[in-house]
Symmetry: C2
Subunit: 582 residues, 2 copies
């Protein structure tokens, strides 16, 4: 071992001991007669001291050759520090160095290895191994490890078995694009990398595994949006002989366990909300319920007052902004500009100031009297001092716009506190959604999701109204997981494929093995999957996932550190029976 202790370990109790440390040079202060070096490793920082009076000359000379990020090994005596540093656990001591060995030199790093760095995103990605030395990144990776250990402990204690499913599987055109892997041994054929282990976990249920989980990489060849990765990690779970309620309870338990163990927070309430309610009240299916600002529908109180815009709108909807009555005209104009940005797309915004004296002042006073506006305040829950913001238009669109405005204002008002956690189940999702492009219904979750039995009759008459036994777990306005009770009998599954526009031949070609499995005694089953990258980020109070992934890819799907993907040998292509088209 190149060390007797780590750099986070020594305390005043160790004073007088001779120890050996190793690590990276974080900082050097050279006063000529005295040199201090901050020595860093994963566990902390220990101050080294080289001193004309107490150290040998040769050692001091050697210390003068050190540079930032040199890797060194030192032997010395732990001594009490004169000026103590209360900010770090080793701050009461320093090491008087008697022997110094340079284990490796270091070129000047392309950015500073400090908590706050001067390195831009691209540079830090290229030198990710240096970025990982920085506390924020290092701690994020350690945090992720702790979360996965807790997930595994909780689920193992609940009798779940982690089963590894294969990575080289079969391509299915349904869903997002697959990454494919040409097979050399099976000429002209391809494996696909899994978008999720969905069918395998269902087969494990048919196989009697009863409770399955896996923390597993999944792959999607999508055009990348910000904060999407072509490979990502799921906590994937499935259970047999369960109903929706059982699954919600188990994973509510997991979420409570994580918040308790990781964040030391006990969650009292774990509410459930229907998809329909979420959409009507928050304008989206993953509401952040840490703050109010719920939607008030104002059609009754706003239409038929000769205000043409509202009269022609399908939906008039408002929210109350706490303390917003004090906004200046300029501030409100900025808000109006904000909702009119193309990314939001509102045509305008009506507002009402709720004064402390109980009167209202709106931008549409020409059409609405105090009584009307009082009604708006009632519907939106606005109190004296609040500002009511009102949007109108086609229901779907205006809800999305209002949701964006609500989140933006909450962010500005500091209502989205990173250390406050409000989980929520959203349930009763629609089974199908209409796709304008292909002009047919698609499965909202996936084709194995079971419809609610009481809604089955609607499949033929009003498919969009059929609700599924599907649920999402939402945490602080982010969807962190979702799942469903699956179809477990072959007739219902065939019916579903039919409604999704698969011919029996296509269904057989793509999912034949699952349909076959259903012939041999499939139990009722269901499950869910958590997106681990996002879950970890949110538990850490962050919203970007990149720092929680050791070696992330950029928005073009490139790993700029190793420079992948890259060209391959012609010979390798030939072996795979492939050639490039151009």
């Amino acid at each position: 071992m190149h060390r007797s202790h780590t750099n986070g370990e020594l305390r005043i109790e160790n004073a007088g001991q001779e120890v050996q440390l190793a690590g990276w040079v974080q900082k050097i202060r050279d006063k000529g007669f005295m040199i201090w070096v901050d020595l860093r490793d994963r566990y902390g920082i220990t101050q080294l001291i080289f001193d004309e009076e107490r150290s040998e000359k040769a050692v001091i000379e050697q210390a003068k050759t050190l540079g930032r990020e040199f890797v060194i090994q030192v032997t010395g005596t732990v001594i009490e520090r004169q000026s103590k540093n209360e900010k770090i656990p080793t701050g009461k001591i320093e090491l008087l160095v008697s022997k110094l060995q340079i284990l490796n030199g270091a070129a000047l790093p392309p950015f500073t290895i400090e908590d706050e760095t001067d390195g831009g995103e691209e540079l830090r990605m290229k030198y990710r191994y240096l970025d990982i030395r920085r506390n924020p990144v290092k701690e994020s990776l350690i945090f992720r490890h702790k979360v996965t250990q807790e997930v595994r402990n909780f689920l193992s204690n609940e009798d779940f078995i982690e089963v590894e499913t294969p990575y080289l599987i079969k391509s299915t055109p349904e869903g997002a694009r697959d990454f494919v892997v040409p097979s050399r041994m099976n000429e002209g054929q391809f494996y696909a990398l899994p978008q999720s282990p969905q069918t395998f976990k269902q087969l494990l249920m048919v196989g009697g595994m009863d409770k399955y989980f896996q923390i597993v990489k999944c792959f999607r060849d999508e055009d990348l949006r910000a904060d999407r990765q072509p490979e990502f990690t799921q906590i994937d779970c499935e259970m047999a002989f369960v109903e929706q309620e059982d699954i919600l309870n188990i994973f509510e338990g997991l979420t409570r366990h994580l918040l308790q163990k990781i964040n030391r927070i006990d969650i009292a309430e774990f509410p459930r909300m229907s998809f329909e309610h979420a959409i009507k009240t928050y304008g989206n299916d993953k509401p952040d319920i840490r703050f109010g600002m719920e939607f008030g529908e104002l059609n009754a109180a706003a239409k038929h007052r000769n205000f043409k815009i509202f009269d022609e709108a399908e939906l008039v909807v408002g929210i109350a902004v706490p303390g917003g009555a004090s906004y200046t005209r300029k501030e409100i104009d900025k808000l109006i500009d904000w909702v009119r940005r193309p990314q939001i797309g509102a045509l305008g915004m009506v507002y009402v100031k709720c004064h402390e004296d109980g009167t209202y002042k709106s931008s549409v006073d020409k059409f609405y009297n105090q009584e009307d506006l009082a009604k708006w305040a009632e519907e939106t829950g606005a109190k004296a001092g609040d500002l009511i913001c009102v949007l109108s238009g086609v229901a779907d669109k205006v809800r999305t716009q209002m949701s964006a405005l609500r989140m933006e204002l909450a962010e500005r008002l500091g209502l989205r506190k990173p250390n406050e956690f409000a989980p929520l189940w959203v349930v009763d999702f629609p089974l199908l959604e209409w796709d304008e492009e292909t002009e047919r219904y698609h499965a909202m979750h996936h084709p194995f999701t079971s419809p609610k039995p009481e809604d089955m009759a609607l499949l033929d008459t009003d498919p969009g109204k059929v609700r599924a036994n599907a649920y999402d777990l939402v945490l602080n306005g982010n969807e962190i997981g979702g799942g469903s009770i699956r179809i477990h009998d072959k007739n219902t599954q065939a019916l579903m494929f039919d409604h999704l526009g698969f011919t029996p031949e296509e269904a057989k070609e793509q999912f034949g093995f699952l349909m076959n499995a259903f012939e041999y005694g499939a139990p009722p089953h269901g499950g869910l999957a958590f997106g681990l990258d996002r879950l970890v980020a949110i538990l850490a109070g962050k919203e970007t996932i990149r720092d929680f992934i050791a070696f992330p890819k950029n928005n073009s799907g490139r790993d700029v550190m190793i420079d992948a993907p890259s060209k391959i040998d012609a010979e390798q292509l030939t072996e795979l029976n492939l050639k490039l088209k151009h």
Copy 2:
């Protein structure tokens, strides 16, 4: 929940309770007036009883429609069984059924779902989800889960951090063939699937992660031999600021922990043996040391006695077979046939019977007197009653042949006991091995393995003699893991690439990012990787890994259950800028 208890849970203490069970019909005995059904789930079997006197007629009629592997849910009362079954934990009770619901029917399974099945390998693979219902497969997967949990607990307690490294990486022509993944977003370029996270774990050490592990899938596009899988799982580890001894100690600890927790066995000794010693004494670098039969080198005592075959041989080597003196002539002839099979390739075998009266009888009495043979007995450790088997020829080949004979005889003699464990470190591996085909040296482990400093001088004069800081963990004659102290300075790494025949350009092209990383302060580091599939099989006392993999592939790399790999759409190929050559 479709059940109040599992089928492994009810005891005599539950008698009188009304419970609900669910599971698969394992067996039906229909006596007309009474029907017994064995109901199975992951947790066990509970006997159900339907009885003319105590059950409603409708329920009995329904029970008569059941078939094997039907999925049912029953409600009933726990009663004491008349004829108890002591073999199963639920054997003292049965469930008098009052209500039966068929949750799903089942076609007749293609093989019996019993511990001993009538299904052949291919059939069981095709219906793997049914095979998993069988106890031996199910228990193997649960066993694997327990092993991985213990690995994670041990390493986490030792401050290792599990870090996920990427699956979409860069292809390198070194080593085995990569599976590649065409990139749609980066036209004409390919990712590769990792053969191991080797370079990433080294980068994590450069990044200061200090102690890393990961249980991770790896991929190799090899022509498959029996019991090899194109995707396999590694326990991958790396540590910084360590020497070989530190790594051996930690992973000796892990191995002890697993044997203790999983097998309830405390390992007293954990011997270490040099590669050279292993080869000389056991003829291979992964000796099974649970039994003796060590090689005796007989050159001195066998040459120059006018026996031409031995005189011309580079090596004459023998082993003592315990109790083998009693073998009949026919048995010995069969043994000689066995070593002459093309898979072994010996030209013949000389033998010596060591009689109880202290005399020797050999197949070469014409050339050797009793004194010579006594010397052979001494060299091989043969005692009265043993048989000495002697092979001769070119040293390398004859050692391999003798090793095969030793293992075969030990197997026949029952010396390879599945519940006895003898781990062993083999150390001091050669750094390089000569490749006849390319007529150059290859890295025996990989190009990042560090040479022993004291052997560095030999690199230019006698490269084959240079020993590496490399080690393998051997368990019961199987290599279950291996690793090395890595090179951590760029000069040594460049020297190694040079000796391995890489031009500086090739080295830069393939490993540039690692060489770059070494510029910025790489710590001394090393690690190892365990093959999880094999480790789990051996801990379970088995040698075939397939039953410990949920969904294995066959020898052509096919998943016969899902029928992968398979053809993909022309459209998908076009998107990837690819076409098939023919």
